[in-house]
């Protein structure tokens, strides 16, 4: 027993088979500086090479889907913040878009454009956090500070917008929580300048850096076919050379009216995954500038009485307004019975929600399709045959966010 405890505290395990005496069994995680969350990869090492790996997840499982079933459609929104907590607003948007589609609600143009805007701001944050942390794992700390400085500036804007840095809950079913503040546009433009500068700085540090190239080129390659079979979407799939982006393939929120490119890699290695993200940040900057230019005036919330609270003057001024308010607060939003799957292109890939309504105020079933779930399923296979240090480089590049992985 003591023997056992001792070996597991070192992260080592004994094989029961006499054949594997020459292999060393090591746990990467669940609590490892490079896992950025609690994940576990159990590896069989021959020297420094991983010959076989199996993964375990679930350390952050908290029953998101079960919780949704006992809350109303609106009350589920704060839970979606906690899925991908690096780009919380994209989860809000994905969820609300699915419920709105179910209700047949068209949200106002201003709300649509603002949703595009905050989604792209969140995409920038997600990508710079992912790449910054990935580079730290590779031993390049400076990039991290370049990126985290601008990330903090974007968070300042989001905090001014909704009062929270990370868990924003900024969308509502039918629109947004509140309109942007007057100097929002100028602040966003200023911060985008900073993002550009940080991108230039980081690219200057890594693009021709021999150490970086050696650590990332042809490391943990996944082929296009294998990636599709694993259900990869987003930057990890595009890094394999597959031009697939929901914003182009199944445009929503008028993404087809924005001019932007979809960066695509060639080999599907760590290098491609990092650079696809860096180029995507540039595209997001372009989309935000276009969105700011076209941002129409008007309401940010639909006037559909099924979902929108009436203005306070009506709530306190006439009986219809009061009843409307009461109905929504007490009886909630009740879509007709039905089943829907709806997806958006989140920072990590296709974020989908399957929602089943039974006519009551609570969703009957919510299933979230987290994009990094598929990436993590492939993680074991991807690191087999590579070095331990490469596994660390790979883990950062597929951007596992434990919040959405384990839900």
């Amino acid at each position: 027993m003591t023997e056992n405890l001792h070996s597991s505290s070192l992260g080592l395990e004994e094989s029961t088979s006499p054949d594997h005496r020459d292999l060393l069994f090591v746990n990467l995680g669940p609590s490892h500086p490079a896992t950025h969350g609690a994940l576990r990869a159990f590896c069989a090492l021959d020297g420094e090479t991983i010959v076989a790996a199996v993964v375990e997840q679930g350390y952050l499982h908290r029953g998101f889907e079960k919780d949704c079933e006992s809350h109303t459609f609106q009350q589920a929104i704060p839970y979606t913040d906690r899925l991908n907590y690096v780009s919380a607003m994209m989860n809000n948007v994905g969820y609300c878009k699915a419920v709105e589609k179910m209700l047949g609600i068209q949200i106002p143009d201003r709300a649509v454009t603002l949703r595009v805007l905050i989604c792209e701001l969140n995409r920038i944050i997600d990508h710079v956090v992912c790449v910054g942390a990935n580079l730290v794992d590779l031993g390049a700390l400076t990039n991290f500070w370049y990126f985290f400085n601008v990330r903090e500036k974007v968070y300042d804007i989001l905090e001014k917008l909704c009062g929270a840095r990370l868990t924003s809950s900024y969308t509502r079913i039918g629109g947004l929580m509140r309109d942007v503040y007057p100097e929002f546009g100028d602040e966003v433009r200023a911060v985008l300048q900073d993002v550009q500068t940080s991108l230039k700085d980081v690219k200057g540090l890594i693009a021709k850096n021999r150490i970086f190239l050696d650590r990332t080129k042809d490391v943990c390659v996944i082929t296009k076919e294998r990636a599709i079979s694993y259900g990869f979407t987003g930057p990890t799939l595009r890094a394999c050379g597959m031009d697939y982006d929901l914003r182009k393939a199944e445009p929503y929120y008028g993404y087809d009216q924005y001019e932007f490119e979809v960066p695509v890699g060639t080999t599907g290695d760590v290098y491609d995954r990092i650079f696809v993200r860096l180029y995507e940040v540039e595209e997001s900057i372009s989309i935000i500038l276009q969105a700011l230019k076209r941002l129409p005036e008007g309401p940010i919330m639909t006037d559909d009485k099924r979902v929108a609270l009436p203005p306070k003057t009506q709530t306190y001024g006439n009986i219809e307004g009061l009843m409307n308010h009461f109905k929504i607060i007490m009886h909630g939003i009740c879509p007709e019975p039905g089943e829907i799957y709806d997806a958006t292109e989140a920072a990590n890939g296709e974020l989908g929600y399957t929602i089943i309504a039974d006519g009551s105020k609570n969703p009957y079933r919510v299933k979230c399709r987290p994009p990094c779930f598929m990436n993590f399923a492939a993680f074991g296979e991807m690191i087999e045959g590579s070095m331990v240090a490469d596994a660390i480089a790979n883990l950062g590049s597929i951007n596992i966010i434990a919040g959405e992985l384990d839900r």
Binding site: S15, A44, G58, G63, E65, K66, M102, G231, I340
Partner: protein
């Protein structure tokens, strides 16, 4: 490709498998014979012109408290996407309450392994032919299946022992030809 054409092809090549066709907010949903799941999904994946090469998600369902529901208790919803053709399709099977089991599609898509483990863990649906049907999100000592409607949301369980993962590792080493 339109859903009607897909159904026609299925009716022609695998008659009797499609039981019902529904429109789910713009996406077609086919209800199929649960016994022939693998056959139908393989056909959808491998037929030129259909080419549903991605299993987007697998959703397990429990209809036991759905108002007015008279059908079988459990359901599985396969969400398919073709990256070459650009179309989507939903395929649903219904499973009985007594012994919810369904053939595994791990031979068709690589991510089916984890998705089916999740469905087993959360809903207690057994996948026959799955190479490693263990819990995925919950602890291995967990009792019950939390997304079933009869599992109370307030029930708590104290779980402590680590999982060694050596069983999975032995299987993986064998699979990779290392011994």
């Amino acid at each position: 490709m339109e859903a009607t054409e897909i159904v026609e092809q299925l009716n022609h090549s695998l008659p009797g498998t499609v039981r019902n066709v529904l429109d789910r907010f713009g996406q077609a949903e086919l209800e199929i014979d649960p016994v022939r799941t693998v056959e139908v999904l393989r056909f959808l994946q491998q037929t030129p012109g259909l080419e549903f090469n991605m299993l987007v998600d697998l959703v397990s369902l429990d209809y036991s408290t759905f108002p007015g529901w008279t059908g079988p208790r459990f359901g599985l919803l396969y969400l398919l996407k073709s990256l070459t053709q650009g179309h989507r399709l939903q395929v649903k099977t219904y499973l009985s309450a007594e012994n919810p089991q369904s053939p595994s599609v791990t031979s068709l898509w690589a991510n089916a392994n984890h998705l089916e483990r999740e469905a087993f863990d959360q809903m207690g649906i057994r996948f026959t032919g799955h190479p490693n049907l263990k819990r995925l999100l919950n602890h291995h000592e967990f009792v019950g299946h939390p997304l079933r409607k009869d599992y109370p949301i307030t029930r708590r369980q104290a779980l402590s022992a680590n999982q060694s993962l050596m069983d999975e590792m032995e299987a993986r080493l064998k699979e990779r030809g290392i011994s």
